[in-house]
């Protein structure tokens, strides 16, 4: 996988003669870590929404559950869970808690479909979001979030074999591990990249296995025509609930990774409904109903945001223009005393959302298969397409799947 070589490639590229250009367009390794864990969350969102057609608009609640489980455990606030519980076990625990929550929410919500399902899951997640925001048990200022205390959990969260210190490496930019393997020296960020990447990869393959199993075929059948799937004899309610629980598990793992890497979380970046909105955005751009699509969508999203970031850290448009355009151009006045440089700063930097929004609208209208789905479509169908085709030919009803009929 090309992603495995990314940190090395980035180092090489940035130090090459064309370094400035690379700094401008390539995401930093830190950004790539975000891509990985948020990509995992987006994949889990797509797992339920894209494959069964049930839009889980409250999916952030599972991301938040994962993140807060890790933080609370490390701060000794999770009953029966010692503060030094291995991180990998915490991730599993977070996933299981999310499964319980998903079963509770799902058993009520799956009586509804379409817009109503989206709304009831949104309702549940907002109740919990609002609650966590004011829950002073988690920390003294719950609204601003909570961080891992260095008193109860001074060491970094380790990804590796539980209880065997030699087989684990610490996450985190500040107190994570560095690694020297022969000629390769890896910084803390690079180590974190590989550790998060490892977990994400395992989760990806697990989800991919499920999608390709008979279970996954039933999920697609539900999306294409639930009534027929039921008529053929599948207990679709049970399939939907299990799929929902599975997606919640991986969403929580993603949240746990986020918390483990950053050591601090807030309700607005975990439980809030716009977090689900971001997952939706990247899923559409990457390819709704394609498992890897949301990961590519996240990559695209983060890359674009970094390119137009206000701070200009890790390259970006304005720093590049500043160092490469003659001063005269940058200071040329376009309108009413505003220079080119100021215009870029005002209208482009920090406003990636605008262009992503336009892109999103265009994708919904013209490329409903997303980046990956469209590429796949060009190259020929996959398993899910054949399932869809079989379902279509099996009966007379109109299929509702329409656009998103690609596999991962």
């Amino acid at each position: 996988m090309a992603l495995a070589l990314y940190p090395g490639f980035y180092t090489l590229a940035v130090n090459s003669p064309a370094g400035a250009e690379f700094v401008t367009v390539l995401p930093r390794v830190e950004t790539m870590i975000v891509v990985l864990y948020f990509g995992l969350f987006a994949m889990s969102f797509d797992f339920i929404s894209g494959y069964t057609g049930y839009l889980s608009f409250g999916h952030a609640v599972f991301f938040g559950t994962g993140a807060y489980t890790v933080i609370l455990a490390a701060n000794g606030k999770l009953p029966l869970v010692p503060t030094d519980t291995p991180f990998v076990l915490l991730l599993v625990l977070a996933g299981l808690l999310a499964v319980l929550l998903a079963v509770a929410i799902g058993s009520v919500s799956f009586r509804l479909s379409g817009v109503y399902f989206a709304m009831i899951t949104l309702g549940f997640s907002q109740v919990i979001y609002v609650f966590v925001r004011d829950w002073d048990y988690v920390g003294s200022n719950p609204r601003d979030g909570v961080s891992v205390s260095f008193d109860t959990h001074p060491e970094a969260f380790e990804v590796g074999v539980p209880f065997v210190d030699a087989l684990g490496l610490g996450l985190g930019k500040l107190n994570g591990d560095e690694l020297a393997l022969g000629v390769v020296d890896l910084s803390t960020v690079e180590v974190s990249y590989y550790l998060v990447g490892l977990v994400v990869l395992v989760c990806y393959f697990a989800m991919q296995r499920i999608i390709h199993s008979p279970f996954g075929k039933v999920m697609l059948a539900i999306r294409e025509n639930e009534e027929r799937a039921r008529a053929v004899g599948y207990d679709t309610d049970r399939y939907k609930l299990v799929a929902f629980a599975v997606s919640a598990f991986f969403a929580a793992v993603a949240g746990g990774l986020f918390a483990g890497y950053s050591r601090a979380v807030s309700p607005d970046e975990t439980f809030f409904f716009l977090v689900t909105g971001d997952a939706l955005l990247v899923s559409i751009i990457g390819g709704f109903g394609t498992l890897a699509g949301p990961l590519f969508g996240t990559l695209f999203d983060e890359l674009f945001r970094e390119f137009l970031s206000k701070e200009g850290t890790g390259g970006g448009l304005l720093p590049y223009l500043q160092s490469h355009l003659p001063q005269g151009v940058l200071e040329a006045v376009i309108y009413n005393g505003m220079t080119v440089g100021e215009a870029v700063d005002t209208f482009l930097n920090g406003h990636a959302s605008l262009f992503l929004g336009v892109l999103f609208v265009l994708f919904v209208l013209f490329v409903p298969g997303g980046l990956l789905g469209t590429v796949r479509g060009r190259l020929g169908g996959t398993a899910s397409k054949q399932v869809a085709a079989r379902l279509r030919s099996a009966g007379t009803n109109e299929t509702s799947g329409g656009a998103a009929s690609e596999d991962d």
């Binding site: 007379t396 009803n397 109109e398």
Partner: protein, 258 residues
């Protein structure tokens, strides 16, 4: 029905009229020419052709699921045919919007009535009156024809009995100033006594408009109609004058039972 007799075997797709034909005397009010319609990927109509002359009552009969309702929907462009033509007074309707088709004088009295259940009886009539026409006169005419509706004029249509809803649906078709009424299964689910009332209403309606009637109740269909077409598996398999056949005709009944 002896298929060698007066009924023409219509599988060949009627006499296909040349494209150059324009509206003139002798042009049928409605000519459906070899239409193919689909629901999704399902091919429902596989080349239906039929004609309705001005002033006629024509019955379209056949089993459930052979495409009778789809034929009406295809005429109205609710389910636009992918192939073939629907000529109304010589003009091809295919590709037009349903509202334009309706404004051209084609009314629909659909299966299951489809009255607006949250609207009052009077509002149901009101909305069917074309813009610019006299609403009060239309209401008065409806109440005269259907006194039962006047009694319930302020009630929500959803609260009416099945028979009353059918009357309302017919009334809606009448006030629409239509030249052609497409009537779908008017007797379905109604008690025999009510069916007689409905039959009377349709027969009254046929004084003012041409009627294409879909009906499974064979005696009723033959009683009301001048001519008939039999539809099976998405195509016309027989047609003829209703005077030449009886409801006991085995050949005809064969097409109506599963």
């Amino acid at each position: 029905m002896s298929s060698s007799d007066t009924p023409t075997d219509d599988a060949s797709g009627a006499e296909t009229t040349p494209d150059t034909e324009t509206a003139s005397t002798g042009t049928p009010l409605l000519a459906v020419e070899d239409i193919h319609s689909y629901y999704g990927e399902s091919h429902i109509l596989e080349g239906v052709s039929l004609e309705v002359e001005e002033g006629e009552v024509v019955a379209l009969i056949g089993r459930n699921g052979v495409g009778k309702t789809t034929t009406l929907r295809s005429i109205l462009q609710l389910t636009p045919p992918r192939e073939g033509r629907v000529r109304y007074r010589g003009t091809d309707l295919v590709g037009m919007g349903t509202s334009d088709v309706a404004q051209g004088g084609i009314g629909w009295i659909p299966e299951d009535r489809r009255v607006f259940s949250a609207l009052t009886v009077a509002e149901n009539v009101r909305i069917a009156v074309p813009k610019g026409s006299d609403v009060d006169a239309a209401l008065a005419q409806v109440y005269e024809t259907f006194p039962a509706l006047e009694e319930r004029k302020a009630a929500e249509a959803g609260a009416l009995s099945g028979g009353q809803q059918q009357m309302l649906a017919i009334a809606r078709g009448l006030v629409g100033e239509n030249d052609l009424l497409l009537v779908d299964e008017p007797s379905e689910g109604l008690a025999p006594q009510i069916v007689a009332d409905v039959a009377e209403a349709i027969s009254a309606a046929s004084e003012a408009a041409t009627v294409l009637l879909v009906e499974q109740n064979l005696p009723l269909a033959l009683d009301l109609a001048d001519r008939f077409y039999v539809l099976d598996n998405g195509t016309v398999v027989a047609s003829g004058d209703t005077d030449d056949v009886s409801a006991e005709d085995d050949d005809l009944r064969r097409y109506l039972t599963a």
